[in-house]
Symmetry: C2
Subunit: 365 residues, 2 copies
């Protein structure tokens, strides 16, 4: 087992990464002071892992109150969030009751946001069961739900007490979701860790074949990158925005296609190629670098061509982005593999042109 | 004008209290960096004060985007909150746009909670226009909406950048609401400021007659008490809970009667008498002290007899209270005028007896 620390003073917390962690009571029990916990999960994950988690907690005399939500990004709404509040109130959960989010990014985001709001804040634990949530969304305290006009528009910065990433849970992950998770793994290489990018080029096939030690390494290195960034800039006033490489375009794709049509990682992959294309148009990276980025996403089975929503629709969707400041769209762009910057240097015309290029099936290669 | 400071390190903020502050651009403009602000108000307050606020902001070249909500506690819901989010997104408000809450406690609680959640946090300013919101809810960063099963169950601790309490706005406040606000004013005397309680006994008629200098003094002294408590215990891990004298019973009355039937201050007044009755039953205060407390609330035109919901229903409603810990109800009780404590000393039977006594029209006097 690897353990990392997210250093945020009194809000610091550990991330445990390894195989079979769900079955180890000594990792969970020290964090739980009460006799009952609420576990928020979904209809897909609960049948697979809820029983195991319950058994582990039962060994410490702790009862589980399950709140099982429908599965999918399209349920990341007020209405579903209210199901959590209904459950918490019906079970008379207290301000000090612990909520455990058992599932992927949607469950983590909604469970975390519910914990942030219930009685103005109850403690929570992230138990991510998808690659995407293990390497990204479970770490760093971003919680949210979607609004019809924009993804993750309503939420809170709210840190968990613990993140438990059990690599064994990836065994049951559908291939498509494994690949989607790789988009965020590759992202860390692109924005700040060129050695990790090299490692990924060498070891991508092992990850796709679910080699346990390769997965543990990729999750641990991704989380280490994320923990460093979050510790330096918890509320995204600076460096943390770099984690959103490909996300402004990606969120536009997710919202524009209808939540759940494209997986988040798929949209991020296609969006990253738009960002790379734009960085190239600005003269910051060379065409072969764009090609190299495209190649690793293609090898990971991820889309590199964006859906043809029309350039105007992209611009409209992106105008709601959280990084817009004084009416100017700030984008995460690349100055090389391992070097990202937040910039408003690109004109609307340049952005439109990059979107146009990456929406045509011809693409670059 | 009086200015107090809520000392919370980098989240510190000023409270300005005085007559005619809404017309003074120099108080607002330094806090506003952008060319537009969102003002959240309601159908009652907006016709009275929105134009004045707009004129003040316009003198600094700042445009106002109004979001006008229906008026009343029964609209303190998800659905109404979503109207704010819809407005913010439709107007492309950014993470750095400022939201101004112009109105009473419901507007402040909902505007503040919307600001806490929109894009995970935008800055906001409180412009309270009722006595209750000026002396209590606008200060200290508690924001929330109600849930059918409990008042203020969903919310956030989220501090404003500034509180602007313009006493002139109390001129248009209905008598019933002025009186409701006095309940929270009297509370400060009861829990921690016996000299202020004495002052209130002497000056209550001036407050009821809306004497401006008496009102400024009462608001300023109430806010000074609140600011001290909040600075010492922002997230209610200790002393801050004392501010909830009468509130556990009061919330039960508000929820049990249907939100909006009893004004918050009315429910707090009746609830405070239950707390006083219980304190007396525990031998902590004498019967004449209960009578003295009853007398000032009666003089303020506030209810001192609670509605006959039935004792079981009170206990059921109170079981959702945010101060429940390990299944035990912790209540704010009195050990004298000016001295409150949080205690779980009262048995269920003693609580039931106190509720019973204070639900009968006979009361104590």
């Amino acid at each position: 087992m690897e353990t990392l620390n997210v250093a945020l003073d009194e809000r610091s917390y550990p991330i445990h990464i390894g195989s079979g962690l769900l079955s180890r009571p000594e990792l969970l029990l020290p964090h739980i002071k009460q006799k009952k916990v609420v576990v928020v999960s979904n209809e897909t994950v609960a049948p697979l892992y809820l029983e195991r988690l319950c058994a582990t907690l039962a060994s410490g005399g702790i009862e589980v109150l399950p709140v099982i939500l429908p599965d999918g990004e399209k349920f990341k709404t007020w209405e579903t969030l209210n199901l959590i509040f209904d459950g918490l109130l019906a079970e008379r959960c207290e301000r000090s009751t612990i909520l455990i989010a058992l599932g992927g990014g949607v469950i983590g985001d909604m469970g975390g946001f519910a914990a942030a709001c219930y009685q103005r804040g109850m403690p929570f634990i992230q138990v991510p069961t998808t690659l995407l949530s293990q390497v990204d969304s479970s770490v760093g305290g971003k919680t949210a739900i979607n609004h019809p006009m924009g993804k993750n528009m309503i939420g809170a910065f709210y840190q968990p007490k613990l993140v438990l990433a059990d690599i064994l849970t990836l065994d049951t992950l559908p291939d498509r979701e494994l690949k989607a998770g790789l988009a965020e793994v590759i992202k860390y290489g692109l924005i700040r860790d060129p050695e990790f990018f090299d490692w990924l080029e060498v070891n991508l096939d092992k990850l796709l074949a679910r080699d346990q030690s390769a997965l543990v390494y990729a999750v641990q290195r991704s989380c280490a990158n994320k923990a460093e960034v979050v510790a330096a800039d918890e509320r995204e006033s600076g460096e943390r925005a770099l984690l959103n490489l490909g996300h402004t375009f990606g969120h536009a794709i997710e919202t524009g296609m209808g939540y759940g049509e494209w997986l988040h990682g798929e949209a991020v992959a296609a969006g990253t190629l738009i960002a790379a294309e734009l960085s190239c148009a600005l003269g910051w990276i060379e065409a072969p670098t764009v090609a190299r980025i495209e190649r690793i996403f293609v090898r990971a089975g991820l889309p590199v061509i964006s859906p043809a929503l029309g350039v105007d629709r992209y611009l409209e969707l992106m105008s709601h982005d959280k990084k817009v400041q004084d009416g100017k769209l700030r984008l995460v762009l690349l100055q090389g593999i391992g070097k990202a910057v937040v910039s408003d240097a690109a004109s609307k015309e340049q952005i439109a042109a990059a979107v146009e290029i990456r929406c045509t099936a011809a693409g670059r290669n």
